[in-house]
Symmetry: C3
Subunit: 441 residues, 3 copies
């Protein structure tokens, strides 16, 4: 199976599971992901205080349906995980249509869609269905039945670390807690899992890459309660992965709160100077995903967010229209491609030190000063080809601004060559002993 087929298969296995912020569906999801990423899975017990929050009891759902007087299913969670109000209390009674309506959630302006609704922290029972179906129900009595339970258990998350030469970490976080949603659930963990396997193949990784899969909000808060101090000391950069489907949408980067975050600088450079078609949004704590937690002022980690078909900006957001077809596996693979390239450039974009900073080095003795009369080209493993004059320009610029104060992107801004091409010139300069780096703050 090629990579895209593997992504598709993984999607199909994860989609039917009934996930929530705790419970069996979450554990099964982490277990299937472990076949791609060697996750260490941890559990935080129900009732544990995590900062201002408390880990809730585990929610167990065994059965949930509404039947009409004839004993026929109106809805049944076996047909769609979205039919049950997530974290619903149990119920077993006969209600008339009026009472039923008080416990059924629909989306009037999208009459065919079943909404996804949760009530984690307020006790309620309820169902979700399409507005069309609710409208078609006739007067009469209905049997509502939810066999659910809240038990002492825990909240689970999983993580895997790809060590690099440095202890500085790049944090990649994604969430697993929505049942049967595609873009706003599975796109994140699938992209994360395949990104893990791409980065695993890199030779000579500088950074350590930490991948974390957890329920949204309470999950990242629980993770931070245990690992926040470690992250504060080690995280050089990071991103939350969410909503990464959407074939015709450009990659979208939400900036980290910390304005000097490495990905903020790099994405700004790529968009402004290399004219890449990515979209950049300002940081905001008002909406979004777990970057709200990583960027809370007590941590203020340099963690942004990558998405594509952004939450709240497409029809299927939080309802049954959020399907594989609307998202496409192809778009997920494109997200893996683009994020991998950006993370590679992040490895390159540090500060460099010219080791012979007094006057220009005599480049011809290193065979770096081209013979004008016999133009040649430079070529490397990355298949980019650059000519002598470009090579010399990059070398002169890098040596002059190789003062430990300028990032490579600052240097690249002074010329018109892509950052990627500096891989060749910086490596060459390092080989001949003229340059050292990248160094990190």
């Amino acid at each position: 199976m090629n990579e895209r087929e593997q992504m598709n298969t993984l999607f199909d296995r994860l989609f039917p599971l009934l996930r929530s912020i705790t419970g069996e569906g979450l554990r099964e999801t982490l277990s299937i992901l472990s076949e791609h990423v060697p996750l260490e899975i941890e559990e935080v017990a129900s009732g544990t205080k995590v900062f201002d929050w408390t880990i809730p009891k585990e929610w167990v759902l065994r059965e949930a349906w509404i039947k009409n007087e004839a004993g026929q299913d109106i809805v049944n969670v076996k047909q769609s995980n979205l039919h049950i109000l997530n974290y619903s209390e149990p119920v077993d009674k006969i209600v008339d249509l009026e009472e039923l309506k008080q416990h059924v959630y629909t989306i009037p302006h999208l009459p065919h869609a079943i909404p996804y609704v949760t009530s984690y922290y307020k006790e309620r029972w309820g169902f979700c269905m399409s507005h069309e179906q609710l409208s078609s129900l006739s007067e009469g009595s209905y049997h509502v039945y939810i066999d659910s339970e809240k038990i002492d258990g825990g909240l689970n998350y999983g993580q895997a670390v790809l060590p690099g030469r440095s202890e500085k970490e790049v944090l990649i976080s994604t969430y697993v807690c929505h049942p049967s949603l595609a873009n706003n659930e599975l796109s994140g963990p699938i992209v994360a899992a395949f990104l893990y396997n791409r980065i695993k193949k890199w030779k000579d990784r500088e950074f350590t890459y930490r991948f974390v899969f957890h329920p949204e909000t309470i999950g990242s808060i629980a993770y931070l309660a245990k690992n926040g101090e470690h992250l504060r000391q080690h995280v050089y950069s990071g991103c939350v992965l969410t909503c990464l489907g959407g074939k015709d949408k450009p990659l979208n980067y939400k900036m980290a709160r910390s304005t000097q975050a490495p990905l903020n600088r790099l994405l700004d450079y790529l968009v402004v100077h290399e004219k890449r078609g990515y979209t950049i949004r300002a940081f905001s704590p008002l909406n979004g995903s777990d970057e709200r937690q990583f960027c809370s002022p007590g941590f203020n980690l340099p963690v942004g967010q990558f998405s594509r078909m952004v939450y709240g900006q497409y029809q299927g957001y939080h309802n049954s229209l959020d399907t594989k077809e609307a998202m496409t596996i192809e778009a997920l693979q494109q997200s893996v491609d683009e994020i991998e390239e950006i993370l590679k450039l992040q490895e390159l974009d540090g500060k460099y030190i010219n080791l012979k900073p007094f006057g220009e080095p005599m480049l011809s003795q290193y065979e770096l000063y081209p013979d004008i009369n016999s133009p040649t080209s430079w070529k490397e493993s990355n298949s980019r080809v650059i000519d002598n004059r470009q090579m010399l320009n990059q070398i002169l610029m890098t040596l002059n601004y190789g003062d430990g104060e300028h990032y490579l992107t600052d240097i690249a801004k002074k010329l018109n060559y892509p950052l990627q091409d500096y891989e060749l010139s910086t490596r060459k300069l390092i080989e001949v002993g003229l340059l050292q780096g990248p160094i990190r703050d």
Copy 2:
């Protein structure tokens, strides 16, 4: 009497007094103002060295007139205080028209106006009259008579302090030294006096408000000579009040020299982000009022200036056209309203500290996370009403940027709600123990 009637009465009592930078008129002015503001009045003796200046002798004027050969008054200071050159030497002699003209000041391009002219530091005798009147004088001899004297006495100023919770002070300075001018004299002390009484009624004042009434230039220099060190240690913010009449003119703020002065920041925010119609001028030492002294480089106090019908930009500037009618008491009251509101916002606009900065607080346990299905509104004493979503947005933004580094105006810039509305959300957050502030640098 309502406030505006009180302002009008105060104006009518102060207008006829013959004020100068020293003397009886100044003392009487301070005495009448004391009925509104409990002024402590001080005196700096003639001859006292104040920095580079020396307090001049007191000027006493008993009588001043010009009579024609028929013994009829041409001008008499009893008709208008402006007829006498302020600080004029005594004289008593018969002069011909030519000599007289050398001692009479007029405004040729405003033939009906009597100018206001002073000669504090150079000995001269002289009169002022309308150009029309001077032109109508026929050849002949004139008796010029000025019964004035310069005696050992002093320069007076008055001040009153409204204590707040903090020792940090807001300085409000205005001048009292021009005789019978409305906008460019009485507008300042009248607005200051009524502003004093407004602020006195505020509950829970943070800052201490210091009101100072003094002659212009030499008065503020004398005040600084005695109190400059105290001001340097305590002044958080301040403003000079001058030329605050002019019904159809917007409030005008001249920035303090110190670019980060709190009122500079606040007015910039109000104009740029809330689109208030105020006018802002850059600081300049070339012209203006006592902010030139407070902002001299040895002090560099964060003191701006509020005006409306700005000196030099209206016909009546420094002449008899500067009347109550041209200025209007209504405009003074509007100035009181606007400056009071700005000073209230200044109390609100500090830096705040999120007391639970690790992850987002669980807002629902403080009843700060609204139940979307039952929209409600928040309302407070200040009669502003804001809805749940605005309240939540303000709360999330304030908590995220409540890091002790952002001013509330910085936070307000990130959303589209007026600064005033944050009174409600910050108070609520402080009540439930999630926020602390405002803190001051």
Copy 3:
């Protein structure tokens, strides 16, 4: 002889010499320049390591020609110094036309021009001629003869210092190594020599001016190897002089790498605020002259570059079209005028300290507060005349911002008078004891 005639004579004596980066032509050039500037001439021995470079052997050229079968000169270095490849190896053999062509350099798109080509660090023999001449050569055999030698000797440079009140230095560097080129060789040393004599006449010089004449690149590197530490400690500002001919071209300033270099600030002020027609280029290490060495990151000296007809942007660049006629002596004199004025303004543009910073000084006691009724004017040796109001405005602005933090250019930006006019007001303020300065960082 007037100055321009002297410049012309100097040009005519220097032009015929066969200069290179070492050797007799260079020494003779320095010797002739010594008649105008009292140069101390130093020598760095061949083989000496200077940072990453090594001083090459001296190149001696005795004879160089190509003869045809008839024994007639095709080219001879006696006709033009440009005919010989600079630093060419010796040769003495009969070659056919094909072999000859491999050793002859031409400029196909400028068929009448003889190029200037060097091969300092790679051993080659060769000639230069016009493309037209090369094309006209018929098949046959040619005698190529170069009597050259590389001997142990040294590289020479010369310097002269004009001491000032301060030990802080202004470095003025120019190169002497190209044979028989006008704009891209002699314009620099001629302007430097006459600038030296202008500055020598200044009364009360603050800065010490150091003039250095050296071969390009290897010469400035050799100079830095010996004097770099001294420069690092003493250089306040500086400029490289190159390509200063070109009558209809504006003076062109290439910024120093160090963004806060005094000339960067001053030229920016002159262009942006005084609308001078100079051109400003950003710093770049990719091309240029010895500022590349002075601005290498290990030194990062505040040294920019002045030019006019910029290298690479005119037809005669590095070929026989670079003549006195194309450059003009008149343009050189204009360069001297303009650079002298800029350096004078640099002496003026420091930070100043108001010695009576508490309140405004009482200006009338220093006769600095003009009597409005009798307008007078101020005039000084520099022949500028400014009126009372301008004088007062400059005084008030200078006193208010005389806080040791603002440069005089910052102050001048706040008003609309040229920097030059502040010479008068600052001198007056210093005379009466109100101001101190300029001070330097």
